[in-house]
């Protein structure tokens, strides 16, 4: 019975101070199988992967590879034993060539023959059908190809188990498909692949089996074809899905009557071409378009995050000058940045300090928020937004992605903004939290706050926005309201069919 599994993990336990991150989790992987590992943020997916790759040492349980028990001491050790990982962020060196990246750190001696390496690299690339040349600089390849090179590197190291941790989150559809072809190819060669992702569609497109975790415990292992998508979601979030469907039914969005809050004419920044934009009080609108279409750059210009180079801005009809973030904040604008780690959280500071940060800045340096006051604020928002944290003094960096995002939301909500800009607030976070954030947006709008919402998932924007501004190649190419707010119309406008 044991023999048919490539990898078995039995009763894995991992404890962190105050938290039981994995509580007796089982996981099995067969030869030539693509196995999706699913769960909300904080479910224990990353912890399980990190135990398997030797980043963490488990506190209990057993790992067997091809039937033999083994202990994994470090990531290098895992790699040696045939377990390779490709992470979401490319961890290779963009300023080296593809060949160098494939072989880096694996040379047997100091002297390596460049030519023979390049030849070998080309063989591997063509075998796997990766559209890159060995002599090309890695940085000059698209993200998808870089991702594939990382996989090629792993595969060439004789890996039996390949872990793909959110490999698709920065890829477009075409690139995703290419990656899937590669995964299927590896599968046919007998490699066992563990696929971690948030995109449900992708799970169904490529995986054979699904293991679901929740709160550090195993929910179950299922054959993909036997588990309908809706059930998968309910297993992940552990509640029935009526809420989800009820949300999408609150379609009537009434805004037209309200007065205009913010208005920009010919606004431009070092990153954004001039554009016109306006939002009414209590309106939820959105910028949509492909990655790189300029949607993020536009909202950054509104907030003064990049150097503003031109245009006039009016708030409540009065002309104002917003040239840096603090100006925008003083005019009641909040901005949740796209890159949570780089532009959002102050990782080593506590949840409490992260929550009060923006309000403190607005109060100014000489009016510090007292300790007791800040504790009260933190407690309030931890409760309101249901932030899962050990305490308000926990460093925010140790929270799961979704909860970090909630902390940043709390930070802006605490400033009681009139206008909140949310750039990809739901990226890389779990279904349950996504839903909570969408609900929150609609609730804020009801209370009269204007919200600009950006998301890569068009469906999500259709659910929340009453107006969509469509961008292509850094220009606004269309504006959709009312009847036109549907997937096909959005796609057409993005593609330039009827713009």
């Amino acid at each position: 019975m044991q023999e048919e599994y490539l990898l078995t993990m039995r009763r894995i336990e991992k404890r962190f101070p105050g938290v039981l991150a994995l509580n007796g989790v089982d996981f099995t992987l067969r030869d030539g199988e693509i196995h999706a590992l699913m769960g909300e943020n904080g479910a224990g997916k990353s912890t399980l992967i990190k135990v398997l790759t030797g980043v963490y040492q488990m506190d209990g349980g057993e790992i067997r590879l091809e039937g033999k028990p083994m202990v994994i001491h470090s990531p290098q050790d895992a790699q040696k034993k045939g377990i390779s990982t490709v992470y979401q962020e490319i961890t290779l060196c963009p300023n080296l060539t593809v060949a160098e990246n494939i072989f880096i750190g694996r040379g047997k001696g100091v002297w390596v023959r460049q030519k023979s390496l390049e030849k070998r690299a080309d063989e591997i690339l063509s075998k796997l059908g990766i559209p890159a040349r060995s002599t090309q600089l890695l940085g000059s390849c698209s993200l998808a190809v870089q991702q594939m090179v990382a996989i090629a590197r792993a595969v060439d190291m004789n890996c039996k188990v390949l872990i793909l941790d959110e490999p698709t989150s920065s890829l477009d559809d075409k690139e995703v498909n290419r990656l899937f072809d590669l995964m299927r190819d590896l599968k046919s060669r007998g490699v066992g692949i563990i696929f971690v992702t948030h995109f449900l569609d992708q799970v169904y497109a490529v995986s054979d089996r699904i293991t679901v975790l929740r709160n550090g415990e195993l929910v179950g292992e299922y054959l993909t074809e036997e588990l309908p998508q809706i059930q998968l979601v309910s297993k992940m979030i552990g509640k029935e899905l009526e809420e989800l469907s009820s949300l999408s039914e609150t379609e009537e969005k009434k805004t037209e009557e309200k007065e205009i809050l913010y208005e920009a004419e010919g606004l431009s920044s070092t990153e954004a071409l001039p554009f016109d934009f306006a939002i009414r009080r209590g309106e939820v609108n959105g910028f949509t378009g492909l990655l790189g279409s300029g949607r993020s750059e536009s909202v950054r210009a509104i907030f003064g995050a990049d150097k503003v180079t031109g245009g006039t801005v009016r708030i409540n009809g009065k002309p104002v000058k917003i040239s840096k973030p603090v100006d925008a904040m003083k005019h009641g604008i909040g901005y949740l940045a796209e890159d949570r780690k780089r532009d959002g959280i102050i990782a080593e500071l506590s949840v409490r300090e992260n929550i009060i940060l923006a309000l403190q800045v607005m109060n100014g340096m000489f009016k510090p928020i007292s300790r007791s006051e800040s504790e009260a604020f933190a407690d309030e928002y931890i409760k309101v937004l249901n932030i899962k944290t050990a305490s308000r003094e926990t460093p925010v960096g140790s929270l799961s992605g979704g909860n970090q995002q909630k902390v940043i939301l709390a930070r802006w909500l605490l400033t009681h903004p009139d206008y909140l800009i949310l750039d990809e607030p739901t990226r890389g976070i779990d279904v349950g939290t996504k839903l909570e954030i969408q609900k929150l947006v609609l609730k804020l709008a009801e209370e009269g706050v204007s919200v600009t919402f950006i998301s890569s998932e068009v469906e999500e924007m259709l659910r929340t926005c009453s107006r969509l501004i469509v961008m292509r190649d850094r220009h606004v190419v269309g504006e959709l309201t009312g009847q036109d707010l549907n997937q096909t119309q959005v796609m057409k406008t993005i593609a330039g069919g009827e713009a």
């Binding site: 904040m329 102050i346 500071l349 009060i356 923006a358 800045v361 607005m362 510090p368």
Partner: protein
């Protein structure tokens, strides 16, 4: 069950654990070596004042300049993720200005001393903002930026008094460097306390700590939350400038003269070390001033201990290095991690035993 686990799990090192252990070990070591090492007596100095004396007093007194510089350096480290290596040279400039002003006035009164000190402060703050501008506006690595002043600072100090090393004879200046009549505590120690209180007030009545830590940990996020990172970095250098002026003036007052070549020589490295021993991340971010101050006293106590053991002054540096290697390695993340894991396992065992006991 969850509560139970929490109560017994190990919460990791506090930032002050290592420097406090270091102090404690040094104290114990000295007590074993010489039980009377820390005895404090009252003696009469040349002016006939009753003053405290003893090794402990000279340690605390001797570390004053270092402690004050370490406070300022902590702030620069936290905001900029780098260190100012020009503090010794800048202190020589500040000391020279202090003496220059005193020398130009006909008679030295309390007012002239205050004036001279304020002039030294302003000059040190100007040099601080020079460093700060290079770091904050031109984004030069702090060590490179301050290398400029490190190189030329003592020459500038030389020019201020025309190459001479003038002496200052004034009872007021003497009191700053030693004792105020009627007060048995050395004046530099009192100044350290005053500086400590000023910093405490600064952090209590402004949000400088939060802003500095935010800038140090994640400059990009801090900027998008409206914090002016450049201003915070510049400010940290200006505040360090004040610390430089204060310690420069103390140094001058101790000797009653300015020697631009030797005043606080090599203090910058000890200052950085004090910050590091205090458990502060030299890469910036979270910080504790108290840690750096304790770090300064650790360094001074180590030096005095070695001297008391009759180690020759040329050998002291080597012995100091050995102890410091130990401190830094013990405080390193790798050892900390290993140690917390060890403690966690220990508390685990204890828990298992207690659970078993309860079952029986």
């Amino acid at each position: 069950m969850k509560k139970f686990t929490k109560k017994f799990s190990f919460n990791g090192f506090g930032q002050l654990t290592i420097p406090l252990i270091a102090i404690a070990l040094l104290v114990v070591f000295n007590l074993i070596r010489d039980p009377g090492f820390f005895s404090i007596g009252i003696s009469h100095n040349s002016n006939g004042n009753a003053v405290l004396s003893g090794n402990l007093i000279s340690i605390i007194n001797g570390a004053s300049e270092l402690a004050i510089l370490a406070m300022g350096m902590t702030l620069v480290t936290a905001a900029c993720g780098g260190q100012d290596i020009s503090v010794g040279a800048a202190a020589a400039i500040a000391g020279s200005v202090f003496v220059k002003v005193l020398k130009t006035s006909s008679s030295i009164s309390g007012v002239t001393v205050i004036l001279a000190f304020l002039c030294a402060c302003v000059v040190a703050m100007i040099f601080g903002s020079f460093n700060g501008t290079l770091v904050a506006v031109f984004r030069i690595q702090p060590m490179i930026a301050t290398l400029i002043l490190y190189t030329c600072g003592r020459s500038i100090a030389y020019w201020i008094n025309g190459g001479a090393t003038p002496t200052v004879t004034s009872s007021i200046v003497n009191a700053i460097g030693s004792f105020i009549p009627g007060i048995p505590v050395p004046t530099p120690v009192i100044i350290v306390v005053v500086m400590g209180v000023l910093f405490w007030l600064l952090f209590h009545f402004t949000s400088l700590r939060l802003f500095t830590q935010s800038v140090g940990i994640n400059g990009s996020a801090a900027r998008l939350n409206g914090i002016d990172a450049r201003f915070i970095k510049l400010l940290s250098f200006i505040i360090l400038g004040v610390c430089v002026a204060v310690s420069g003036c103390i140094g001058v007052s101790r000797l009653g003269l300015i020697n631009h070549e030797t005043l606080l020589l090599d203090v910058e490295m000890d200052t950085i070390l004090a910050v590091a021993i205090g458990g502060n991340n030299l890469g910036g971010g979270k910080f504790k001033l108290s840690g750096s101050v304790i770090g300064a006293y650790v360094i001074q106590m180590l030096t005095i201990t070695l001297y008391a053991m009759k180690v020759s002054s040329t050998d002291v540096k080597a012995y100091k290095a050995i102890v410091i290697i130990l401190l830094v390695v013990i405080g390193s993340p790798v050892i900390k991690e290993k140690f917390s894991r060890f403690l966690a396992r220990l508390s685990d065992k204890r828990r298992k035993v207690s659970v078993k006991g309860a079952e029986e």
